[in-house]
Amino acid sequence: MGLLIVTQLISGLTSGVLLSLIAIGIALTFGLLKVVNLSHAPIFTLGAYIGLATYRLCGNFWIAILLGALIAGLVGVIFERLCISKVYDDPVLGFLVTFALMMGLTQAIRMVWGPGNQLAPQPAYLMKVVYLGAIPVSSYRLFAILAGLVIMGGMWLFIAKTNVGLIVRATLDNKDMVNAFGIRSASVLTIVFGLGSAIAGACGVIGSPIFGLFPDVGGQMLVLCFVVVVMGGLGSIRGAMLAGPIIGIVTSFTALISAGLSNVVVFVLMAIILLVKPMGFFGDKL
């Protein structure tokens, strides 16, 4: 019994940390642009597939993560500049444009890599079993948690300690004021968008052995990410960091009973939280 609980806890924590990371990207875009960014999902998938292609080419997992993040970030910037920047401040059109981007990119991925499941890159030196006391744990999951925490910490340092982070926080607070200081908030938005996309891409590569690798993997994650973002409070980074592991753990425990049920439980949880605390845990706060 203890074994089962620890295993589920670790697997829930793994997906939770990765969910948090993707959700931070969505939360930031929402806070800055007031656009519900659905195109984050296929960018996650794209990162995973780029990682796979790189891994097949050169066999180095770290280069795969780097390249996955880089290309995902680049695609994010292109999306932002070409399409999403045209519909800022109109939530309906923003929703529609990102929805179209999601559909288009997912279909493009399906056309390039085929609709089926792919074997995710799994470096042998990470695929071991380690023992926590007497309980066997996959070392890859521990690595994923660690990597997720490192990226999250880096993100936090960037937002909280650097000058650019200061500008990002100021833009979240009052875009017009930032513009009045002579700083182009538009380029801040592009940077944040690119950064969020790059993190989603890296998560895609790290997460592909855990979530599987198929064209709709991003769409499945997206729905959970939204729950995370809404629970944590739209636009709140702290909220996303807290809500991610909660959702991950709840999902992994209900999945023990029935796979279909976990989605239902997650959404019932979200509905309850929305009714009790409509702004989420940390609504309107960074």
């Binding site: 929402f30 007031k34 656009v35 519900v36 399409c83 045209k86 519909v87 401040d89 109109d90 939530p91 309906v92 059109l93 923003g94 929703f95 529609l96 444009v97 929805f99 179209a100 981007l101 559909m103 288009g104 997912t106 279909q107 493009a108 399906r110 056309m111 729905v223 939204f226 729950v227 809404v230 739209l234 029935s258 279909g260 049920l261 989605n263 239902v264 959404f267 019932v268 979200m270 509905a271 929305l274 009714l275 409509p278």
Partner: protein, 356 residues
């Protein structure tokens, strides 16, 4: 004067772009009404009997009704919902399951519509209750979208797991065509007899569309559009916007349920695909393509969309990619949709004729 403008700026919601539109209250002349509905009646009741593409025409009829009802919530009132497929599916499944496992009678259709409408009421209540005017507009849309996605997952689970024995699970509800729906002891609606279903579908859709147009042209329709433009001000005028939005949402859920039942009658088949929110997203594309600010825009959108889908699916598998490109292009270059262009076509033709 300066004080007035400052006050007005406070009243104005920040994210309300001006919508290009004609006069809000345009009463069409009686001749236009009669001619328009005569053409519609021909399309709905005569065309299916005289074409080889009868399934396409029937699909266009059902989806026109579906899209026009959806547009009351989406285009008129400004509520983005991805949950209408749920109401469509719940109504169709309820009707089908009751007809197959309880009693093959026409009475199952109103029951199905009622269950679908009730679902719409519940989903609408949950997603609108907290989305008050003091909540940011983007957040309100996020609530609506998320709770409708939640509804789509929950109904999908219900129909795939506990009800799989009745709903047919992944396969969908098959075999309804073998059950003729009884009306009286002598009269029955045979789903295999296409001329019967054509007439039922055509008449019901026509009546429903006429009723919806009456509602859209009434003062209530004006309140809907006012809510889209500026909900706070409508509240100041004394309207309870929450109840009004819930009413519109339920009404459009009712139309979706009706369309679901008509679809079931037309095809004798329904699958759980309609619960997926990508199903409803096609409606969003249809409304945008046709013009979400006009009543008949969604119908123009449906006709274009369905024919495009039929033609393109024959050549390529990547229908979703084409759809995405069409959607982005229509957002950027055709924000008013194709509906207004088509609506002004007769007038422009007339003008051209007069000149010549």
């Amino acid at each position: 004067m300066a004080g007035e403008t400052a006050g007005a700026a406070q009243l104005r919601e920040v994210e309300t772009p001006p919508v290009a539109e004609g006069p809000l209250f345009r009463r069409p002349s009686r001749i236009r009404y009669i001619v328009g509905y005569a053409i519609l009646a021909c399309l709905f009741l005569v065309l299916p009997f005289h074409t080889a593409y009868d399934t396409l025409v029937e699909d266009i009829i059902v989806w026109s009704l579906f899209a026009i009802g959806f547009n009351l919530a989406f285009g008129f009132t400004g509520m983005v919902s991805l949950g209408h497929g749920v109401f469509f599916g719940v109504a169709a499944f309820t009707t089908g399951i009751l007809a197959m496992f309880w009693t093959p009678s026409v009475i199952t259709i109103p029951i199905g519509v009622a269950v679908g409408t009730l679902t719409a009421f519940c989903v609408g209540y949950l997603s609108l209750k907290r989305a008050r005017v003091d909540v940011h507009k983007a957040l309100r849309i996020a609530y609506l979208v998320l709770i409708s996605i939640a509804a789509s997952y929950i109904t999908m689970y219900i129909f795939l797991n506990p009800l799989a024995k009745y709903s047919g699970g992944d396969m969908g509800l098959l075999g309804l065509v073998d059950y003729p729906l009884r009306l009286t002891s002598h009269l029955q609606l045979d789903l295999k007899a296409h001329n019967q279903t054509y007439i039922v579908v055509g008449v019901v859709a026509l009546l429903a569309i006429a009723l919806l147009q009456r509602i859209a042209n009434s003062p209530a329709g004006l309140v809907m559009r006012s809510i889209r433009e500026n909900e706070i001000r409508v509240g100041f005028l004394g309207y309870n916007t929450f109840r009004f939005k819930l009413l519109v949402y339920t009404l459009s859920g009712f139309v979706a349920s009706l369309a679901g039942c008509l679809y079931l009658l037309r095809s004798g088949f329904i699958s759980v695909d309609c619960f997926e929110f990508s199903f409803t997203s096609e409606l969003v594309v249809i409304c945008l393509l046709g013009g979400r600010n006009t009543f008949f825009g969604p119908m123009v959108g449906t006709i274009i969309f369905m024919i495009l889908k039929d033609v393109i699916s024959a050549y390529t598998n990547s229908w979703a990619l084409v759809l995405a490109i069409v959607l982005i292009l229509s957002v950027f270059y055709l924000p008013a949709g194709l509906g207004p262009t088509f609506a002004s076509l007769p007038a422009r033709l007339l003008k051209a004729c007069k000149k010549a």
